[in-house]
Symmetry: C2
Subunit: 210 residues, 2 copies
């Protein structure tokens, strides 16, 4: 697999996947890059360039085969295999993530919930009992854990992320309002909700449709 | 205020704001663009370029005054005034958003919760009673609503967003897994959690620290 594809391209790939999934659901078998472009508000040349990073997939004059492109992008994004995920920090946000059924359909399977608050021990969320952080090393030994969603207060995020990486869980889906990129060996994807809200505030102030 | 600043710049501004807030909390009064650059893993020239979009704020050789820069970025992002927000769709995610105290501190104040499920009517979340969607027009007349967080299933998102825009709530913080950019007059900021998870999957597969 290519190693030096820009994050800007990677940022757009899930969106392609989503639109192609919609087309597939609507029974569309083939789409031109022009039509896909109009639908997605991205230039046709951008789409071609993005997909060329991975080898193309279109035939000049024939457009894209929707199912084929959908499957190929799914492979590129690693969606052909199941990813076992744990949720670390089972407050409101952790519970929201746990209950988000959509992730299941994409192959992200939540297999364990962890918190450090003893009062939460054994509480049931979506049929799973909340475990304590000290149970995590044993759990990791006995289960394949691919991703940890970090839904805990900022103050605990960095230490917890280091502990997770030391336990071999290097893929961190970080909701805490702090960047964790400094940790050796970590692969982190940040969901900074406050940052997002500030961008909305800016764009509202400047009346911009993104 | 400038009108044609790229979304890539806007994307980075909340992060500057966050780092400057941390420096402020740590009692740092002044920082060079080089030091800020190292801390943020962004080149010093990038920082200077980004800030120059808004007129600069640094003095050659003196670095940035942390408090001043923090305040100025806050103004740029529209954080000097309170934004009244409603949450539309009070499932797990809507409740998580409602309970996220951090937003308060940034001046985003949740003033109403709405759902379409009659079983939820009157239920209490963080001291607020859930109202029904049909109460919304009256509520909007009696209250200043700046932003609507859309935390409802995808199938209802577009219609609801159109209704909100028609009621004059044009700033939509969209958590539904669909793009809403086509709606006339809307200013939308998307939080597509599944897209984010797919990027993590890709980067984990390709072992990339972003």
């Amino acid at each position: 697999m290519e190693k030096d594809i820009s994050q800007a391209v990677i940022r757009r790939m899930p969106r392609y996947y989503r639109y192609l999934g919609d087309l597939l659901d609507a029974g569309v078998e083939r789409i031109s890059s022009n039509d896909l472009s109009k639908k997605m508000h991205v230039t046709a040349s951008q789409i071609r360039q993005d997909l060329n990073n991975f080898g193309g997939f279109g035939q000049q004059g024939y457009g894209y085969n929707v199912k084929y492109l959908y499957d190929e992008i799914g492979k590129i994004l690693g969606l052909t295999e199941t990813h076992n995920m744990i949720v670390v920090g089972v407050g409101n946000l952790g519970q929201a993530v746990t209950n988000y059924v959509k992730f299941d359909k994409l192959g992200f399977k939540i297999i364990g919930l962890f918190d450090s608050n003893p009062e939460k021990e054994g509480q049931d969320v979506r049929g799973m009992k909340i475990m304590m952080m000290e149970d995590l090393p044993k759990f990791v030994k006995e289960n394949k854990v691919d991703i940890a969603a970090l839904t805990l207060p900022r103050a605990y995020a960095e230490k917890t992320a280091r502990d997770l990486v030391n336990l071999g869980i290097t893929s961190i889906w970080n909701f805490a309002h702090v960047d964790l990129d400094d940790i050796d060996g970590i692969v982190v994807e940040n969901v900074h909700l406050s940052d997002s809200l500030m961008r909305l505030s800016y764009n509202a102030l400047n009346n911009k449709n993104i």
